[in-house]
Amino acid sequence: MRKSWDLIRPTFVLVIICLVISAALALTYNLAGVADLANAGYSAEQLAEFSASALPEADELQKVDVSVEDEDFHSVYKAANGAGMAIVVVTKGYNSDGMTVMYGFNPDGVMQGIYVIAQEETPGIGDKVTTDTEYLSRFAGQSADSFQVDTVAGATKTSTGLINGAKRAFELFEQLKGEVLG
């Protein structure tokens, strides 16, 4: 008995450790309700901050779940007071990880504003554009057919990224207008 116990003891100990740890983790994961927190998206204050520059007239944004599968669509929100809707798009700038940008529209499709939620652009060059309020304000008042925003010298990749994102947002607006604004 002694010999065989030595043989299986390591396996036995490892199995016990794995069992205890996985049980503890599963327990905490489900009890703490981490699951529903993980994909809750943006919190209320974050949304308020975004809509301040993307959709100024909107008082409060509510997330609308739509079945859009393509890769660069992130999410879409409806303004509670009917001031329009905001579409969040992932667009490729200089950095391959891409930028997450929210574009605000009023009900008839005129862009109200833009807010860059997350970006990994090159510090000092690319990220300047994403915080340059003057340049971002040029997006306000644009509409699908008369879209005219030029790129920023020195940060062409980042600004083209924002422009492509805007064009993509216009297409998504047309696509989702019926479903979201109803």
Partner: protein
Amino acid sequence: MSSLKEFTKGIIKENPTLVMLLGTCPTLAMTTQAINGLGMGIATTFVLLGSCVVISLLKRLIPDQVRLPAYIVIIAGFVTLVSFLLQVYVPDLYSTLGVFLSLITVNCIILGRAEAFASKNSVGRSALDALGMGVGFTLALVLMGSIREILGFGTWFGVDLTFGVLEPIGLFSMPAGGFMVFGFLVAVVNRLSHYQISKKKMGCENCPGRAGCGGHCGTVSKTEGEGK
């Protein structure tokens, strides 16, 4: 060693990052801002404390063939626990740490301390040692983070220091800057401790890489220091 000494040795004399040159991956990656360094330091300290205590409790039960997998499962368990806590209570820190939070499992300090110290000493001493190492690691990270943030962004813990006059140097927030600041810091520590740094204290024989670098991988060895 008196228990107080056990705790303080981790902070200055055998600081895991600046003296032993362990855990360099998070040190360089997470110190673009002081607050990130602080967050990573505290998370690592929690994991280090937890796993050292558990490992020193189980040290006689774990046979040698499965020693490495068993230690790693315990450490990974604690890391996942920390990631739950962060996800629920401090979500923005969770997003900034990102993949490096789960990389704490392979942080050389934790496995190093677990094998070198926790598996040989009592629970109390291991806990103190882990706490000392953790605090030392956090201090080094916050120091690195502050330097890189002040130089790279001109702010410190978010407080703007440039008064709109000074132009922050972008290099320091980029990886290249990280290497350089870390190099300078180690040089300064090298100078302050009069070249008495030696891997021997941490135990070269416990470092998994000892075969690769023949015993003194990169630090000025003790004898060479006195020889001059």
